[in-house]
């Protein structure tokens, strides 16, 4: 590895030859708000607590989305704003202090407390930034208190993770100019996937490698001009900007879905660290072959099948690319809540010409198109899946793609299986 290769690391994607047309619609959006991110973030960050400051609706959303997990060991809760808070009979900041005190007494093991903004708290302009600062000073040394917004008016589903990680970036220790270059892998991943990637980076001779978010606050990695980072998730626009402002460079790559995506993603890191190409191929080959074999098992079922993605998580683009290039599926419409062209430049370039891209949503118009297109599979949220099934359209519910391990070589077969299963089931059933 050499410092020189780091300097030549590309900081953004090659400009795509032609900008594809994107259908932009505004109307009813059938999506989750960013608060939902808490459900997986709190499992990942084991000494963090997420306190939503919001309404009964926010609490109800979390429990509806979390299902039974809420009883496992929840490190999230809602401070429900009440009439007296709105009428000014209670000072919201005092109330918040009281609740945080109560919470931290009961959960002394908490090291990071996120005050998470919601639609109500944003609309009444409750200054959670100020509250976080004040409380942080009060609990200095024992608990770090941060704030971000997961409100629906500002964030869609996975953007909640983006907002949360963005709040963590200023907390990362500064790497000094003389420090060895480090690689950051950015985006919450299931532990098993994180470990697989760690082993691959070790074998490649890339290091030190750190993950953001870290399991514990004390393990937050250093960042500085010698840092490069790989985005593991496509929805990290703000986090990416914050890391770049601290001097780190983004390695442009496909997202690590499927054999090709994962290879490209690893290669970006290998090139940045000046890893010998032969060595790279040798290390990557077994995983890549396993991935291809596992994918091949599903190919007969998925090849040539037409698929539509409704907007949900921003994973739609890379997943459509994976299904198209590695499984022969035909993307009809790929909807995304938000399209970051720079982060997705390489993904876009690999989508077949004629794929209809849409950003934003008017759900009724989009469903009209689904009914007209009649794709073999529609990837959508749980509010739409059963109604579409009842109309005779096969669906794959999208949230599972955020909650299941789908990154990397070893999960490529599972990822394909997630899309093959609804079709297989449809063929099996005789009722």
């Amino acid at each position: 590895m050499s410092g020189e290769s780091l300097l030549t690391a590309p900081s953004s994607g090659c400009a795509p030859a032609a900008q594809p047309q994107v259908l932009r619609e505004r109307g009813q959006r059938e999506v989750f708000c960013g608060l939902t991110g808490i459900i997986w973030m709190h499992r990942k960050m084991q000494d963090a607590f997420f306190l939503v400051v919001g309404s009964r609706t926010c609490a109800h959303l979390l429990q509806s989305a979390a299902g039974v997990m809420i009883f496992a060991e929840p490190r999230f809760a809602t401070a429900i704003i009440e009439e007296r808070d709105l009428a000014g009979m209670a000072d919201c900041q005092d109330e918040l202090d009281r609740i945080v005190d109560k919470l931290l007494v009961r959960r002394p093991e908490i090291r990071t407390l996120f005050l998470v903004g919601s639609c109500p708290s944003e609309v009444i302009k409750l200054d959670l930034g100020k509250a976080a600062q004040r409380l942080d000073a009060k609990f200095a040394g024992s608990v770090r208190i941060l704030n971000y917004s997961g409100s629906g008016i500002e964030t869609t589903f996975t953007e909640g993770e983006d907002a949360c990680l963005t709040a963590l970036v200023p907390e990362m220790p500064a790497a000094l100019a003389g420090d060895a270059p480090n690689l950051l892998v950015v985006g919450a991943l299931p532990d098993i996937v994180e470990d697989q990637f760690k082993r691959l980076f070790d074998e490649l001779g890339i290091g030190p490698v750190h993950f953001l978010p870290a399991k514990r606050m004390a393990e937050l990695p250093k960042v500085g001009p010698n840092s490069v980072f790989l985005l593991a998730q496509p929805f990290l626009t703000e986090t990416c900007g914050a890391l770049q402002r601290r001097g780190a460079k983004r390695l442009d790559a496909l997202f690590p879905f499927g054999a090709e995506g994962t290879t490209d993603w690893l290669r970006a890191a290998a090139e940045a660290f000046g890893i010998d190409r032969m060595h790279f191929n040798r290390v990557v080959a077994p995983g890549r072959e396993r991935a291809k074999r596992a994918i091949a098992h599903r190919r007969d079922r998925l090849d040539g099948k037409r698929i539509t993605f409704l907007p949900d998580s921003q994973l739609e683009l890379p997943l459509a690319r994976f299904l198209s290039t590695e499984l022969g599926m035909v993307p009809v419409e790929v909807g995304t809540p938000y399209l970051n062209r720079e982060l997705n430049a390489r993904e876009l370039a690999l989508l077949p010409a004629g794929t209809r891209l849409s950003e934003g949503q008017d759900v009724d118009l989009q469903l009209d198109r689904v009914r007209l297109d009649r794709p073999d599979l529609t990837v959508c949220g749980l509010g739409l899946a059963n109604p579409l099934e009842a109309e005779g359209l096969s669906t794959k519910w999208a949230i599972e793609l955020v909650f299941s391990p789908i990154h990397g070589f070893e999960q490529a077969g599972d990822l394909a299986e997630l899309f093959a299963r609804p079709l297989r089931r449809r063929d099996i059933l005789r009722v």
Binding site: R56, T57, A77, A79, G152, N386
Partner: protein, 522 residues
């Protein structure tokens, strides 16, 4: 502010959605931020509906604030009318839209849509889901009922009633309606309209045709029935037919009000619960301590069944909807327990541990509490999860409902013979109480709470019996305690420690254990 991990009820606009989704030809335009559409999945996933709820959300975003949220609302309402052509439109705001004060009522009125528009005022920061459903149904009825439509003369026709209260996402509402219809039919009474479930605005218009109303669920139908009584002088029956006794009373009241002979309904050959409960196999149920929590209607009905029809001892009773606190207090007084009226599940958990029940009857939430502490449990009330929207017919009401309830409640208990065997062969390696009831899977239940690794889940409190004191147990006494069946062991431990403390004994030895047993036996 109130700190909450779990809520028994959603916000009031979810109640409004339950009414809109229950109805036909009704549409609800909800001024709400992006994200509030999560509530759709309650209907499509938990109730497994094959249609989207008839709700259009404005899903405004931050960039819309301060300029055009009002026009977004008007566009959404106009588009919804054109697309879905409802016979009536509900309009209202969710919690966030309530703060931006766009006035959905005035905005919708200005559109002059060619259908009735029913504005909803649902104070999200004061009220909750059940209240929202009751209020919405009341508004619908009040606005749509044709006051000139009155019952036809009684000569030459069967009596006619309305069934009020069944909703979308209601616990067993579908099957309760079928069961009550059957009962009424057997004594010659016809149903004019069930509402809101499956009713269209036109059906609501003709509610006045009925001779009287039957309120199946006071939580959702009570307000509308009250108004119908005032405005149309339609009396209502409020006895809820859950349990054999309550069903008999219900039949008698309905028959009296309708002027028909009730006999045909009272002898139902399919009613097996009374004999099941009298059969000697059920003797072991006598005096089992049961803790009951849920919505007030189901909890109060369950207490009566437990007490009169299964011979249980009600050791705790409560509800989460304070609108029915008065009824709950009266019922609790009858059973000689303190009423528990709270929407804080941690309080419920403490109360359950304090009462040391042998069976918990509650909501999904109590199911999880009971599971954690190894106490058998059955679900009697919302909120419930998907498994309590069953494919099979499983009412709570009427005689078939009583059959269902008997099976449901007895099932989680260790069966009588097994209970004896467990006591006799407790040291048998294959047949010890750690193995749990043989008819329930996955049930190695019952490490008693103290033995669990302290779960930090109760907001950091150690999940122990709350009265666990510092009193020491000798090894011998601890060993002897293990011979007590697991389902009463917690109670024996607590009683013994309380006894030891009251006697000023610092430790529990064998003698103290048996002194305490004698003491409590008196």
């Amino acid at each position: 502010m109130q700190l909450a991990v779990w809520t028994y009820e959603g916000p009031p606009h979810v109640g409004a959605m339950r009414v809109a989704t229950a109805m036909q030809d009704m549409h609800y335009v909800l001024h709400a931020p992006q994200g509030d559409t999560y509530a759709d999945l309650l209907f499509t996933m938990i109730e497994r509906r094959g249609k989207r709820p008839p709700v259009t959300y404005t899903t405004f975003q931050a960039r819309d604030l301060g300029k055009d949220t009002a026009s977004i609302f008007q566009n959404a309402a106009r588009d919804a009318y054109e697309r879905f052509a409802p016979k009536a439109l509900l309009v209202g705001a969710s919690c966030t839209a309530e703060l931006i004060q766009d006035d959905p009522a005035g905005l919708a009125e200005a559109l002059e849509l060619p259908c009735p528009v029913i504005p909803l005022e649902l104070p999200s920061y004061q009220r909750k889901e059940n209240w929202g459903a009751a209020e919405t149904f009341y508004r619908v009825v009040r606005q749509l009922v044709d006051r000139d439509i009155r019952p036809a003369p009684r000569e030459g026709r069967r009596p006619l009633v309305n069934l009020l209260g069944p909703c979308a996402l209601g616990f067993r509402h579908r099957d309760d309606v079928a069961e009550v219809r059957k009962l009424l039919d057997s004594i010659g009474i016809d149903v004019n309209c069930v509402a809101p479930l499956d009713a269209a605005p036109d059906d609501i218009r003709t509610l006045g045709r009925a001779d009287f109303n039957i309120v199946l669920y006071p939580e959702t139908g009570g307000e509308a029935a009250r108004w119908l009584d005032q405005a149309l002088h339609q009396p209502s029956i409020r006895t809820v037919p859950i349990g054999v006794g309550a069903t008999r009373e219900f039949i008698a009241e309905v028959a009296a009000l309708a002027g028909v002979d009730e006999t045909a309904a009272l002898v139902d050959p399919q009613s097996r619960m009374p004999w099941w409960s009298r059969s000697v196999d059920s003797t072991y149920l006598t005096g089992k301590r049961v803790f009951i929590f849920g919505d007030a209607t189901h909890a109060i009905a369950a207490a009566r069944i437990a007490h009169e029809e299964l011979g249980f001892e009600v050791c705790g009773l409560g509800c989460y909807n304070r609108e029915f606190a008065r009824e709950m207090r009266a019922a609790a007084a009858f059973y000689g327990v303190d009423p528990l009226i709270t929407d804080d599940h941690l309080e419920v958990e403490d109360a359950i541990l304090n009462a040391s029940p042998e069976l918990v009857l509650g909501t999904q939430m109590e199911r999880h509490i009971a599971k954690r502490f190894g106490i058998p449990c059955a679900v009697i009330s919302s909120p419930v999860h998907v498994q309590d929207f069953t494919a099979r017919h499983s009412p709570q009401m009427g005689f078939e409902g009583a059959n269902v309830i008997f099976d449901t409640w007895v099932h989680p208990l260790v069966m009588g013979l097994e209970e004896h065997l467990l006591t006799m062969f407790r040291d048998d390696f294959e047949f010890s109480d750690e193995a749990g009831p043989s008819h329930l899977h996955g049930g190695a239940p019952v490490a008693r709470p103290q033995a669990e690794p302290a779960p930090a889940s109760r907001m950091g409190e150690v999940a122990e019996m709350p009265t666990a004191t510092t009193i020491e147990w000798t090894a011998e006494a601890e060993q002897e305690l293990k011979k007590v069946p697991f389902f009463v062991r917690g109670k024996v431990r607590r009683n013994t420690e309380a006894f030891a403390a009251s006697q000023g004994r610092g430790a529990v030895d064998l003698a103290t254990l048996y002194d305490a047993k004698a003491h409590y036996a008196r």
